[in-house]
Symmetry: C2
């Protein structure tokens, strides 16, 4: 702690004028981004960040009040860039005359936005790590943040995939976008497991390769035939005996294709609104 000096200035209040204030504010955000990304949310204190920036911890309280408010500001600073970029790319693909976007184009554009952020420099790399980290650390709060910033764009991607894959059960499209998110978050968190499992055969130092490898996998997954699955217990209370698993030729479980179509209509109506 610095010695308290006799002054009318409130402790922690920044000394510099408006420009200096913005500088300090940005420096706090940069340091917080790096440290939340590297050590996680719980393990990083205002004091750690203040030490890194070379200021009094009270200065962070002055600017951001709470740790949640700080991480919210850190998160939104770059997440809004990602969401905007998604919408731009989708607009470009969807406004192209006579050639609706392919599944490959949609997937490549969806994934490349995150991987482009990762390769944009140290700050972008810290951000994508933070994003992968906070998901598991502060469920409800992080959840609200992701919903607030990403849902519009992600739901537009879901609708675009549904249009590009009219033969696929839209329920599957929704599930699959979540598997896609899981896959890229895991890679963004580090991906070191890949180098390890492959015995050094695969390297993650080339982010363009990560994007290409992820795209081919995710396109295959997204385009796979609809899951054959029938719910053992739909909305209404039914006896356990209602559990019907229809074995198909490839050993998967049966699900009525009709249900898929009804859902497709519902989804399409919903999507055309947003």
């Amino acid at each position: 702690m610095q010695a308290i000096k006799k002054t009318t200035r409130r402790p922690g209040r920044p000394i510099a004028g408006p420009d200096g204030q913005n500088d300090i504010r940005e420096k706090i955000l940069d340091a917080a981004e790096q440290m939340f990304g590297s050590y996680g949310w719980t393990a990083t204190s205002f004091r750690d960040i203040a030490t890194d920036v070379g200021i009094n911890p009270a200065m962070i309280t002055y600017y951001f009040r709470t740790k949640k408010n700080l991480i919210e500001t850190v998160f939104k600073r770059r997440a809004t860039q990602i969401a905007d970029r998604w919408l731009q790319l989708l607009d470009a693909l969807e406004s192209r005359p006579k050639r609706p976007p392919t599944v490959y184009e949609l997937m490549y554009s969806y994934l490349s936005v995150e991987f482009d952020m990762q390769k944009s420099g140290a700050a972008g790399e810290a951000f994508v790590k933070l994003q992968a980290r906070i998901h598991n650390e502060i469920d409800d709060f992080c959840f609200r943040l992701r919903r607030e910033v990403y849902d519009v764009a992600t739901q537009r991607y879901i609708a675009a995939f549904e249009r590009a894959l009219p033969e696929i059960d839209p329920v599957d499209i929704n599930w699959r976008i979540v598997f896609v998110i899981g896959g890229f978050l895991y890679m963004l968190a580090g991906g070191a497991r890949l180098e390890d499992l492959s015995g050094g055969l695969c390297k993650i130092d080339d982010i363009d390769e990560v994007t290409a490898r992820a795209t081919s996998f995710m396109v295959g997954g997204m385009s796979a035939a609809s899951t054959q699955y029938s719910h053992p217990h739909p909305k209404t209370t039914q006896p356990k005996a209602a559990k019907v698993k229809v074995a198909t030729t490839n050993g998967e479980l049966g699900r009525s294709p009709k249900a898929g179509k009804t859902l497709a209509r519902k989804r399409t109506q919903r999507n055309q609104k947003g």
Copy 2:
């Protein structure tokens, strides 16, 4: 802290005999599993766990010395069950005469082991959450744990997928197993994002459905045509101009299929050893 009493017993040493000791040890492990899964590794202290079990924190130190040792014991207790189950299922599939395992069978068995653990009860559910959580919290340490417990089984699965998909670049198989891991870890961490993004269209309360949905996606991804990608900078130092991206009909990037075959041979040699 309890008041120190005059006694020859070391503080924290359990009072009960061997059976009672095992009981307390298991109770500590159960509580730690629940709390690490719910609140994460950093946010959970020996004191929290001790309060939950109703013992003195020194008792946890007596049994487990450090927090890392505690989480290692918690992790291995169920992770070894998962690894053993993977090996059993693979043995069964691979010993079947004249019908080598299909990609679907391999993927379903690989995923179902994790999801079966999730649905085995509160403890299994806590474990899979913990597993998804610690991945992001304590990188290096968790990494060593996963490697130690899971690598033999996962590498056998990789080899089995390579045999089931001889036409696919084995480098892709290695990448793809990591996307699969990312996808199921994300679902095991909660999957609430799915219900959110789909506007309630998809529910994650039926783990059999999660397994079926994940399997169809992952089978599609694993079986997708090899990624067409050529490294801009191979091992040897080459000028930047060596970066060749060959556009193919579907807009992917070109990668020599020859390189894939060489790697396939290398991998096969490696896999036949283990």
